[in-house]
Amino acid sequence: MRIHEGAFERVALRCGSEQRTYRQLIDVVKSKVNELDRLACIRKRVVVDLPDSFTMLEWVYALWQRENSLLLLDPRLTAAEKADRERMFRPEAGVSVQNGVASAAFGVFSPQVDAELALYHVEEQISQTESPEQDALIQFSSGSSGIPKMIVRSKHSILAELEDYATEPYSPGTDSMVLCLVPLCHSFGLLSSAIHTLSHGGTLVFPEMLKPGIIMQTIVEQQITHVYGVAFHYQLLANEWDKQLETEHRWHPELRLLCSGGPFPETLLQTMLSRGLPVGQQYGMSEVGYIAVQWSGLPIGSVGSIAKRLQAEVTDEGELVLALNQSPYRFEQAQWVPHSGTDREAYAGGRLFTQDLVSLDELGRLYIGKRKNDQVSIGGLKVAISEIEQVLRTHPQIVDACVVSYEQPSSGTVLEAFVVSHEAAELAESIIKEWLSDRLARYKIPRRIRFINEIPVSPAGKIIRGVLLKEYCHEPAAAN
C-alpha cells in the first residue's frame, strides 16, 4: 500500500488548520517504521486502538510496510466488544492512545494523538494457517450466532481492490479534494476513501466537527470534489445546500457525493437531485471490499456495475454470490461454500453467499434489494438482529427476547426489542438499556424495549416478527 510520491509538497492530509504534505506524511511513516524495526515488530498480529486521526493512518502504513496483520478497533465499540475481538485475534502487539483509552462515542476525528506501540507477551505460537504478512487486515462483522465473524483480507486482495477502484469512472485522482466523513476502521473509509486517495496524490480532508455548518464550510472553502458519507451525513447537510446558495460562495462545480451502507432515503435523494447534486452509491462488504460503485448518481437506485476483479453470479432466488480464491473467514461460516470437485475450475476456492438479494439490468448494473438474513444497516453499520437477541437473553431476568426493525423517514432503520420477563414489574426499560450499553455499542441498542407476555411463534416454531411490528410498533393502542 504505497503513498503517492509524485508531488511531495502537495497536502496529503488536512483537518482544519492542521495538515501534512506528502513529504511530511512519508517521513512520519518512516520514523514509525524505524520504531517497528527497533522493537522487531515485523510480521506480527497488531491491534490498533486509536481514534480516527492522521496518527492512525501513519501507523497503518508503517505496520503494513513491515507486513504486520492489523486489527483496527472501532472506537465506538464497548470495552466488552473490543475484548471479544482481541480474544479471537490474539494480538502480539498493540498501538493505543498513550495514557488513555480510545473509546469515543462519536468516533471524533483528531488530527494527532499521542500513541504508543507495545509488544505483548504471547506464549502460544502462530498457527500454521495464519500468515501475518499475507493477512493484512482483520475485520469483524456482526455474526448471527452472537459471535462476531472474523474476516481476513489478504494483502493481495486489498491491492486488487485498490487497482480496480482506480479504474472506476470519477474515482478520486491526483487533483482531487476528498472529504472523508466515515470511520477509518471500516473498508469504505480506510480503503476506498483514504488509502485510494493517498495512493493517487489527492488531498484527504476531515471535518473538524460533524456539524452541518462546519462540513458545508469545509466543502466550499476546500473546494471538495468527492465526499464519502452515509445517509446520516447527507441528512445532516440537508438544509445547508439552500443556505449556501444564498451566499456568493459555491461548492466545486464537479462536486460528487458518495453514499454507502444502505439505501439512500428516497425523499432526501429527490431533494439532492433537485439541487443538481447527484448522490452516487457504493456497495461492498468487509469480506471483499467494494463490490460496485457509481459516482454519477444514475440510474437512481443502482450501485453501478460489479467490479472487474470479481466473478459474480445471481442465484435463482436472487442472491448475489461471489467466487473467491480463498475463504474470507478465519473460522467456518455458513455463507462460505468451498468448491466441490465438479466446479473446481469455475471456482478455484469457493463461493461467498452475500445474503443480499439483488437484480441486474440489461446493462449489467446492480440493484440491491433486501437482506436474506437478519442483518440490518444502522447508520451504515451492519447489525445482526440475532446478536442483540442473544445478548438480551443472557440478562438474568429476561426469559425470551425478540428484536424487530423497521424504517423511519428521518432515522432510517430503527430497532425495537420485545422481552419476556417474569419480573417485568421491577425491570424497567431504562435498566435493560443501561445493562445493554455495557455489552453492545450504542448503535446496536434498540430505541425502545417493550415487555410482552410471550413471543408470538408460528406452528413451526418460528418467531412471527410481523405480528409484533403490526400490533406494537404501529398500533400504539394495542401496546402493553
Partner: protein, 81 residues
C-alpha cells in the same frame, strides 16, 4: 412554552423514537447513539442559538430530557453574560 417543554418538543420532532411514542418521562434515560446526539445538538443550536461542542461536552448531559435542559440552560446563561 418553557425550556423543558421546548426540549421535549425538539426531542419528539427529531423522531428518534417511533412516531407514536410520547416522550413523557423527563428523567428516563434516552441512551442516544452518536448520530442521534449529533442530530439533536444541531436542532438545539438552531433553536436556542447556543454552541455545543460534542467533543468536549459531558455526554451525561444527554442522559435525559431533564439533563439536556440543564445543559441548554447553562449555555443560554453563558450567552447572556
Amino acid at each position: 412554552m418553557n425550556l423543558l417543554q421546548q426540549i421535549r418538543e425538539l426531542v419528539r420532532q427529531a423522531r428518534l423514537f417511533p412516531q407514536e411514542v410520547e416522550v413523557d418521562d423527563d428523567d428516563a434515560p434516552l441512551l442516544l447513539d452518536s448520530m442521534s446526539t449529533i442530530l439533536l445538538i444541531t436542532s438545539f443550536e438552531d433553536k436556542f442559538g447556543v454552541n455545543i461542542d460534542y467533543r468536549t461536552v459531558d455526554l451525561n448531559s444527554f442522559r435525559s430530557i431533564r439533563t439536556i435542559e440543564q445543559l441548554i440552560a447553562s449555555h443560554v446563561q453563558e450567552g447572556v453574560r
